[in-house]
């Protein structure tokens, strides 16, 4: 059964009152959405809460899901909007302790990085990249995440962010340029 057909079946079961079917769907997409939301909001706890809200919101609107797009695309759209809204709300808040942002950060095991020294090196680079990302504006960070982490086409990003493709292109380029400056020390290593 294809991914889409499997999702459709699970959605029908959800609508029929089988809560466990929704649990399957949540388990299927939770990590992908969590990665996206975490990269945008920069805080593990907030990201987890947001993703949970996304799944609750999606469940409420499950009848409205027409199946014209993939379920993941639909969920992703809800998630990215929730993350952006969250970042906008955060603008007026002064971070008290940026060092606590990743208190709940738990990278998944990477089979490629099996040796401890490689793991440490990867963790250190992750930390520096995350900090550099955190320094970007929400607009820059969002397009970077949508392109470089989630691999969306410019057209899709433009549609989801409700802006012209040209805006996506220039915003993404500026974001990379700024991030390049913030990570220049890593490039020289």
């Amino acid at each position: 059964m294809s991914d889409s057909a499997e999702d459709s079946r699970l959605i029908r079961e959800c609508l029929d009152g089988h809560a466990e079917a929704y649990g399957v769907l949540v388990s299927k997409y939770q990590d992908r959405l969590y990665n996206t939301v975490f990269r945008v909001v920069g805080n593990a706890e907030d990201a987890r809460d947001l993703v949970q809200d996304v799944f609750v919101q999606a469940y409420r609107s499950l009848e409205k899901f027409q199946g014209q797009s993939a379920l993941y695309t639909w969920l992703y759209r809800i998630a990215i909007n929730a993350a952006i809204s969250h970042k906008r709300r955060q603008r007026i808040m002064v971070p008290i302790d940026s060092g606590r942002r990743d208190a709940n950060y738990e990278p998944a095991d990477d089979p490629i990085q099996s040796d401890p020294s490689g793991r440490l090196e990867q963790d250190d680079r992750d930390r520096q990249v995350r900090e550099a990302l955190d320094g970007l504006s929400a607009e820059y960070r969002t397009v970077l995440v949508m392109k470089d982490i989630d691999g969306h086409k410019y057209e899709t990003i433009a549609e989801m962010l409700n802006c012209p493709i040209g805006t996506v292109r220039s915003r993404l380029h500026r974001a990379r340029m700024e991030l390049r400056e913030r990570l220049r020390h890593l490039m020289e290593e």
Binding site: A19, Y22, S27, P107, H173
Partner: protein, 405 residues
């Protein structure tokens, strides 16, 4: 195409998001410009840093948390009814008023304190379909009883579901009054936080039902007495007890409240909170010594500030004896180990009541549990409530359920 005047196209080049003409122009530019090549390389490395970020996992229990939240917010859609339950005989009972002209309409008046101590009154009509007691209905059909309520036993616990299939109340059967088609119960709310508004919204709809009837009326004098008792019995007296109104109209309900009041009246300040007293000396189960097992159970905590026995006796005198008939076999009554001949004395049977159950629920459950031991009946209450872990706002009410034909 001329060389680009800005370097934005480099990122798009990297992402293969350029038209063929644009791409060809950038290729020419890169051939001629070492700076452009350096910039492209740095952009590529930057992009790779982001792409190579470790993947995160949100946690294995996340999906359960989502389902729990949906359940807490009463968003879960109702579970499908098992097909085996919809047999022909069952349809007689649940087929609705048109098919069988026998729908149980139960109207319940509950006043509770919401999460913000806002007093709300809920009036809701239940139909038999609301009960998660379909097997009971099947049995009723097979045994050809006049009313499914005849099959209920004291101590039976049923969940009452809302239209979304979420259990809102536990219905605990306390006693059967003299009428065969009615039964005395306590309703213990489960999760009354986000659901209150929805329940209230349904009130308006159900109250227009021509066959609905309000079975319970308020007797605030009794309510006030019970409230005092409950507040005193609370292990944390400073915490407002959520039950603010117990409504009662019939003699059965009055008797129930009187029993509860008597129980507290007979309580001695230096002793743990006691169990029920003998409220009707004619009851065949009224005088029973507590079992050894129950006497050894740990005692519950009680409020430190208690009213004196004399004050309580005065209140008892003003209240007078319980009035009205009651089915003795099902009456709330228990024994006193210290003075079995004194109807106001108490026994020291104690339990470790679940925090999930409110004070009134604890009273009732302990009480009928004791009765069960006396009656050698197999009750199922304890295990149902011991599962609860977290205290939640709740509503409780004494009900007289009536089977209407």
């Amino acid at each position: 195409m001329n060389l680009p005047h800005n370097d934005e196209l480099l990122s798009a080049y990297l992402d293969r998001e350029l038209s063929p003409d644009e791409r060809a122009a950038v290729d020419r530019w890169l051939e001629q410009s070492p700076e452009a090549r350096d910039q492209l390389r740095e952009l590529e490395v930057t992009s790779r840093f982001v792409r190579k970020l470790s993947k995160l996992e949100i946690g294995a229990d996340f999906a359960d948390g989502v389902i729990d939240q949906l359940r807490t917010e009463s968003l879960l859609r109702p579970a499908p009814i098992q097909p085996k339950r919809t047999n022909r005989r069952l349809m007689f009972w649940v087929g609705g008023p048109i098919a069988a002209a026998a729908t149980l309409l139960l109207a319940v008046g509950i006043t509770l304190l919401g999460p913000r101590n806002e007093q709300r009154t809920i009036v809701r009509n239940f139909t038999l379909d609301d009960f998660s007691a379909l097997p009971l209905l099947e049995s009723a059909a097979e045994e050809k009883v006049q009313s499914p309520l005849e099959l209920l036993k004291k101590g039976d616990v049923f969940g009452i579901l809302d239209p979304d299939g979420i259990k809102q109340f536990d219905l605990i059967v306390l006693a059967k009054p003299t009428e065969p088609d009615s039964i005395m119960c306590i309703l213990v709310g489960q999760e009354m936080t986000g659901e209150v508004t929805e329940l209230e919204a349904r009130v308006a709809e159900s109250s227009r039902h021509p066959n609905s009837s309000l079975a319970i009326e308020a007797d605030h004098k009794q309510v006030d007495q019970l409230r005092l008792v409950l507040q005193e019995a609370n292990t944390q007296p400073e915490t407002a007890y959520p039950v603010v109104d117990i409504r009662a109209s019939g003699e059965m309900e009055r008797q129930m409240l009187a029993d509860l009041t008597l129980r507290k009246r007979a309580h001695e300040p230096n002793r743990p909170l006691q169990e029920a007293t003998v409220a009707n000396s004619q009851s065949p189960v009224a005088r029973t010594e507590p079992s050894e097992s129950t006497a050894k159970q740990p005692t519950p905590e009680v409020a430190t500030q208690r009213r004196s026995a004399s004050t309580e006796s005065e209140r008892a005198a003003k209240q007078g004896p319980p009035a009205g008939p009651i089915d003795n076999a099902e009456k709330l009554a228990a024994s006193s180990a210290d003075s079995p001949t004194d109807p106001k004395a108490t026994s020291s049977r104690a339990a470790s009541p679940s925090q999930e159950v409110g004070q009134l629920g604890r009273f009732v459950i302990q009480n009928i549990d004791l009765l069960a031991e006396a009656d050698k009946k197999d009750l199922r209450i304890g295990k149902d409530f011991d599962k609860a872990k977290q205290p939640r706002p709740r509503a409780e009410a004494l009900l007289l359920l009536r089977w209407q034909k």
